[in-house]
C-alpha cells in the first residue's frame, strides 16, 4: 500500500533556501566555535588518556597463563583450551616434567604454549574450560605488533602478562 507523505508547504522565503542555509550555518558554526574555544570536550586522546581505570571486572582482554602462590606454572598441557578454542588460536606442545623437578609429580607441562592473538576472539572459553585454573583473560586489550610472528604470544610472554594469581584451588598439594 502506497503511503503518501504530506510534504510541508513552504513559505516563499523558505523556498529561497537562504534562511535554511543561515540557520544551518548557525548550528554548525555554533559547534565549531564551542570546540574552538574549548567550551566542550568529547574526544578522549587515546594513547595519553585511557579507559583502563573504568574497565569492568568481567572485561575480557588478552588470555594469559598464571603461576600460583607456590610459584608453580599451573598449566598441565591438557589441551582442552586448544580443543575448545573456536578460532583455533591456541597451539600447545606438551612435555613430561623431568624427575628432578620440584613438581615432577605433576608429570606434564607445556613445552610450548602459543596463542595467536591475530586469531584470538577474546571469547573466554579457554578460561571457562580450563580444569586447572591456569588460563585467565586479563584486561590487556592493546595487543599490537609489527609482524605476524610478534602477534603470536609464546609461553614466556603469556606468563609475563598473566603473572602470579593467588587464592586458587590447589589440587596438586602434598595431601594429594
Amino acid at each position: 500500500m502506497a503511503i503518501i507523505v504530506q510534504r510541508p508547504k513552504l513559505k516563499w522565503w523558505e523556498n529561497l533556501y537562504l534562511p535554511g542555509l543561515i540557520s544551518g550555518m548557525r548550528v554548525t558554526l555554533g559547534h565549531f566555535f564551542a570546540i574552538l574555544l574549548r567550551k566542550k570536550k568529547v574526544t578522549m586522546q587515546y594513547p595519553e588518556e585511557k579507559w583502563d581505570a573504568h574497565l569492568p571486572d568481567h572485561y575480557r582482554g588478552a588470555p594469559a597463563l598464571v603461576t600460583d602462590d607456590q610459584g608453580r606454572e599451573r598449566c598441565v598441557a591438557c589441551q582442552l583450551c586448544e580443543f575448545i578454542c573456536p578460532p583455533r588460536a591456541i597451539t600447545i606442545k606438551p612435555e613430561e616434567i623431568p624427575a628432578e623437578d620440584k613438581w615432577a609429580k605433576v608429570e606434564k607441562r607445556p613445552r610450548a604454549f602459543e596463542i595467536d592473538m591475530i586469531r584470538c576472539i577474546y571469547c573466554g572459553l579457554c578460561e571457562e574450560v580450563c580444569p586447572e585454573q591456569a588460563i585467565f583473560l586479563r584486561k590487556d586489550y592493546a595487543i599490537t605488533g609489527t609482524s605476524r610472528a610478534e602477534m603470536v604470544h609464546d609461553k614466556k610472554r603469556l606468563y609475563e602478562i598473566g603473572g602470579v594469581r593467588t587464592g586458587l584451588v590447589n589440587k596438586w598439594n602434598e595431601l594429594k
Partner: protein, 570 residues
C-alpha cells in the same frame, strides 16, 4: 512362539525375548540385543575372572513350584513367567539358560553400578587433565553414565607408586589402576610372558612387575590398549597428543606378511600412534610392538620430498616432468633386454598391476622383487617380512619371488643389463647389490620414501609415498585381500607409487586414463582372474579371503583353540 531349535535358548532381555546359542555369556547376549552392559575386566579374547563387578545385572528364571503346587503355565507367547532373583549376577562369566530373564536397567542393576563406580573412584586420582587415557577412558565414560556425580569419600586417598617403568615401552601409574587384571591375563594367556601380578590386599592392592623381570616382550604395548584406564601408558605416545584431536584411519600393517589390521591416529598430517584393530581372521586384537612403533621415520629427516636428477656427480631438485622425461628418453634409447625392473613386494596389487604394464610396454628382460625373510615369532610376525608377496605372485606373475635377483646381478656384471628401474626398493641395503655393481649401470631410476644408498647412486630419484600415504590392496600370508588406506599426505611433491608408474608409462608414450586407485582396482579386477568380480567396496575394512595359500597365523590358531575350549568368547 516358533519352535525352539535345540542349540538355541530363549532369553528375555529388558522385556524382549531373543534367541541365543547355548553357552553365550550374558554380556554378549545383552550386547547383541543392543543393551550394552558396562564392564572393565571382561575382554572377549581373555578369560573372565569376574573381578570388577561392573557388569552386574538382575536375572530371573521360571519359578520352581513347591512340592505339590501347580507348575507355572506358559503365557500366550509360549514363555514361562520369570521370577526375578533379588541378588544380581555378573554378566561376563555366566551363560544364558532357557527361559532366562535379564534386566540391564532397574534399581538393583543401577544401584550396583553406582556403588561399584563409587568404590573405584574413591582412590582414583583426579588427574584426567594429564592422563593420556582421557577421552578414551572407560572409567570416565562410565562415571558419566553410571556414576553418582559426587564423592562421599572424605578421607585421604591411598598413595601408590606412580610413573613406574614396568618395561622399556610401558609405564605404570598404580593410583589409576582399577585392578581389572586384563594386562595380567594378557601377558599370561596371550603373550606367554607372565610378569605382571597383584600384591597387597584391599585398597592397597597394587599391580607390579615380578621382581627382577620387566614387561619387555614384543607384545607389551597391547596391555596399554586393553587397559580400560590410564594406568598403563605407552612411553612412545605418552604426552604426545590428546586422543580427541586425532583422526583415525583404518589400514593395515606392512611390516610383515601377516598384515595386522591397524588404525592410524594422525593430526595435521602427522602420525602419532598406531593401534591394532580387531580382525579375528588376521590379528585378533593384537599386534607386535616392533611393527607398531615403526612409523616415526615417516616424518623423519631423511624423507625424500622432491624429484631429483643427477648432474655432475650430484643431485639437483627437478620437476616431475623433467625427471620423467629424462627417464623416458634414456629408456627409449635402450632395448628391452637391457632393462631390468626391480619392483617391491611392499607395493600394493594396484601398483604391481601397473608395473606389469610398464614391463610389457618397454619389453623389459628382467622383472624381480627383493625378498625379505626373517624368523616367524609364532604369534603374529610372519617369516616373510614383505607384506604383499602373494600379490607379487598373482599380479606380477613371478612364481618364486626373489629367485631371479642373482640373474640380474650377473647381467649387470656382464654388461647385458644397462638400466635398472628400482621401484620402492632399496637395492644396496636390502637387495644385496653392491654400489660398485650399480655403478656399472648406464641408468638407475630409484623411487623410495627415504634417502638411502640406492637413491644416492640413482640417476633419477623420485619420491614415492610410504604405506601411510597411499591406498591400495595387499594379499597377506593366508591369502586374504586387505585394503591399505591413506592416512596422511606425503611431504612436498611426493606421489603415490601407482601415480609414478602411471606417469612413467605415459612419458613412454603409453595411454593412461587412470585417476584413482579404485579405478585402477577395477581394471585389475577385470584382467587378473583371481580378482574377477571384486569391487573396492566389497573388500571392506576387514578384507576378504581371496586365495588359499595353506598358511595360517599361529596366534589366530591358538585363539580358535581357546574359543573351542570355552575359555574365551573370542
Amino acid at each position: 512362539m516358533s519352535e525352539v531349535k535345540p542349540d538355541l535358548v530363549d532369553v528375555q532381555i529388558d522385556g524382549v525375548w531373543h534367541q541365543f546359542p547355548k553357552g553365550t555369556r550374558l554380556i554378549e547376549a545383552c550386547r547383541q540385543a543392543g543393551a550394552e552392559v558396562p564392564h572393565y575386566c571382561y575382554h572377549p579374547k581373555l578369560t573372565s575372572p569376574g573381578n570388577c563387578r561392573m557388569c552386574l545385572v538382575e536375572t530371573g528364571m521360571p519359578p520352581r513350584p513347591a512340592p505339590g503346587a501347580e507348575p507355572p503355565q506358559p503365557d500366550e507367547s509360549g514363555h514361562l513367567p520369570i521370577s526375578w532373583i533379588p541378588r544380581p549376577v555378573i554378566a561376563c562369566a555366566n551363560t544364558v539358560a532357557p527361559n532366562m530373564g535379564i534386566r540391564t536397567t532397574g534399581a538393583i542393576t543401577e544401584g550396583c553400578r553406582e556403588g561399584v563406580m563409587e568404590f573405584l573412584l574413591a582412590n582414583h586420582p583426579l588427574d584426567c587433565p594429564i592422563c593420556d587415557q582421557a577421552g578414551e577412558c572407560t572409567l570416565q565414560e562410565y562415571s558419566v553414565e553410571h556414576g553418582k556425580g559426587e564423592s562421599r569419600f572424605r578421607e585421604k586417598k591411598v598413595k601408590k607408586p606412580k610413573n613406574v617403568e614396568v618395561g622399556p615401552r610401558v609405564r605404570l601409574d598404580d593410583e589409576r589402576c582399577i585392578m581389572c587384571s586384563r594386562c595380567i591375563r594378557f601377558t599370561d594367556e596371550i603373550a606367554d610372558d607372565p610378569v605382571l601380578g597383584f600384591t597387597d590386599r584391599g585398597s592397597h592392592t597394587v599391580l607390579t612387575v615380578y621382581p627382577g623381570r620387566e614387561l619387555a616382550n614384543n607384545y607389551s604395548l597391547n596391555t596399554v590398549d586393553i587397559c580400560p584406564v590410564g594406568a598403563l601408558t605407552s612411553n612412545d605416545f605418552r604426552f604426545q597428543m590428546r586422543v580427541w584431536f586425532m583422526r583415525e584411519t583404518n589400514t593395515i600393517d606392512v611390516n610383515c606378511a601377516t598384515g595386522c589390521n591397524i588404525t592410524v591416529y594422525s593430526r595435521q598430517n602427522k602420525i602419532y600412534r598406531v593401534v591394532p584393530r580387531q580382525n579375528n581372521d588376521v590379528n585378533s586384537d593384537w599386534m607386535p610392538d616392533s611393527h607398531r612403533l615403526n612409523f616415526h621415520w615417516i616424518d623423519g629427516e631423511s624423507r625424500l620430498a622432491e624429484p631429483m636428477v643427477k648432474e655432475n656427480g650430484g643431485h639437483r631438485v627437478a620437476s616431475w616432468a623433467e625427471a620423467l622425461a629424462k627417464t623416458a628418453d634414456k629408456l627409449a634409447s635402450l632395448s628391452g633386454a637391457e632393462i631390468a625392473v626391480i619392483a617391491s613386494a611392499r607395493m600394493t596389487n594396484e601398483e604391481l598391476f601397473l608395473v606389469n604394464r610398464l614391463v610389457k610396454q618397454i619389453g623389459a628382460g628382467h622383472v624381480e622383487v627383493v625378498p625379505r625373510l626373517g624368523e616367524a615369532d609364532g604369534y603374529l610376525i610372519s617369516a616373510d617380512r614383505n607384506p604383499n608377496t602373494n600379490g607379487v605372485k598373482l599380479v606380477l606373475g613371478i612364481e618364486s619371488p626373489g629367485s631371479g635377483l642373482e640373474g640380474v646381478k650377473s647381467g649387470i656384471e656382464e654388461g647385458r643389463i644397462k638400466a635398472v628401474l628400482c621401484l620402492q626398493e632399496n637395492l644396496v641395503e636390502d637387495g644385496g647389490f653392491s654400489p660398485e655393481l650399480l655403478g656399472k649401470l648406464d641408468f638407475l631410476l630409484a623411487t623410495y620414501p627415504l634417502a638411502n644408498p640406492t637413491t644416492g647412486l640413482a640417476d633419477v630419484v623420485l619420491p614415492g609415498a610410504c604405506w601411510a600415504e597411499k591406498s591400495g590392496t595387499m594379499i597377506n600370508v593366508a591369502g586374504r585381500l586387505q585394503r591399505l588406506n591413506k592416512a596422511v599426505e606425503g611431504p612436498g611433491q611426493t606421489r603415490e607409487p601407482w601415480e609414478i608408474v602411471r606417469d612413467l608409462i605415459q612419458a613412454l608414450g603409453g595411454g593412461n586414463g587412470i585417476y584413482s586407485v579404485t579405478e585402477l582396482f577395477n581394471q585389475l579386477a577385470s584382467e587378473v582372474p583371481e580378482f574377477k568380480g571384486l569391487s573396492w567396496g566389497q573388500i571392506g575394512d576387514l578384507g576378504i579371503s581371496l586365495i588359499d595359500t595353506g598358511e595360517t597365523i599361529p596366534a589366530i590358531e591358538r585363539e580358535k583353540q581357546r574359543k573351542a575350549a570355552g575359555l574365551i568368547v573370542g
